[in-house]
Symmetry: C2
Subunit: 207 residues, 2 copies
């Protein structure tokens, strides 16, 4: 009987730990959402929390039609992002080919994958962001290519082992315009300068 109690206790605490770990990670995400009135912080938070988005370019194959493509990105180390999205692309994929012909591009991301949104992904209280600008290839070995490499390989460690013969290269989106919805009332007024120089993210708790 003594042994049974001991065994059951151990199993119980293992499960308790599992449950606590799960609820704790969900709580951290919820707390870190910035004040919705701080548009720059809201946009920067969305970029730092998301690991993938849709990068749109003008299709070479389809006479300039807009071509959205699911891509991984990173703007820096966790909590230390610059707001500039970096990508690791190969010309075997249409997006890089399109950008080398016409640099115009946009990156769209949603609050939905972050897990802090309780409503429909298109409800204005579920934040969404589109950064429009130029998709530029970075010079190999340049300082910024090193920044991009560190940002991407930290957030997406799998990339380190992607095949060398695919000739992956580092790209960045030079932002020209910002479209942010993070509450009712249409797109929020936010300049690229405000976005890039956002103060440290204020946090509020919804719990």
């Amino acid at each position: 009987m003594e042994l049974q109690v001991l065994l059951l206790r151990r199993i119980f605490f293992f499960f308790l730990l599992t449950i606590l770990q799960q609820s704790s990670s969900a709580r951290i995400l919820t707390i870190s959402k910035p004040d919705r009135h701080d548009y720059a912080a809201s946009a920067r938070w969305l970029v730092s929390q998301n690991s993938w988005g849709v990068l749109s370019t003008l299709s070479v194959d389809h006479e300039g039609a807009p071509f959205g493509n699911v891509v991984s990105f990173s703007d820096g180390l966790p909590e230390k992002g610059s707001g500039i999205p970096y990508f690791y692309l190969t010309a075997l994929d249409p997006t890089a080919r399109n950008a080398l012909k016409d640099q115009r591009a946009s990156l769209a991301i949603s609050e939905s994958p972050v897990g802090t949104c309780k409503r429909d992904p298109m409800n204005p209280t579920c934040s969404k962001l589109t950064l429009t600008g130029k998709l530029l290839i970075l010079d190999e070995g340049s300082e910024e290519a090193e920044v991009a490499k560190k940002a991407l390989f930290t957030k997406h460690p799998e990339m380190i082992d992607w095949p060398e013969d695919h000739d992956f290269r580092f790209f960045k989106l030079e932002i020209i315009d910002i479209f942010l919805i993070n509450w009712y009332g249409g797109a929020k007024p936010i300049t690229v300068d405000e976005y890039l120089h956002a103060k440290s993210i204020k946090v509020v708790s919804f719990l």
Copy 2:
């Protein structure tokens, strides 16, 4: 001691049930993923399982730059989709305005939100799909507008109560080209006809 054993047993079985419920729902999702060699079924499955994606149009405000926007969509009732994505858009938002000027558009979606992908969202084994075509507004009261309404309001019940003065209208993407990655080896060969007439989805278990 007897009581302690009984109590611990009860708590243990409660946690076991919780864990089993969670893994069981994950298992159902995994099982429903089609055979990766069936490209049409794979693409249709991605469309049916996702509730949102990024719809790209040519920006009126930014001289024809590609503008991706997070939107909710539906291709029909669960397991009864047509493969045609329908949208509920307002001209208060740039995407609808852009489409009314130039119909060229694409919808990009990822396997990532479905929850069946264990690797990086850009790893080729994580499926992604881009449907390129024309974003068309549906005539109010038409048969297809009713189909769109039923498809959207079933998958996104919140839409029923979206504000009337925003003048939301039903749109569809008339598909011209399909870009599917669902394994290594680049984009898969798949025609619009194969996609629209996909046989019922074959299911395989990875467990």
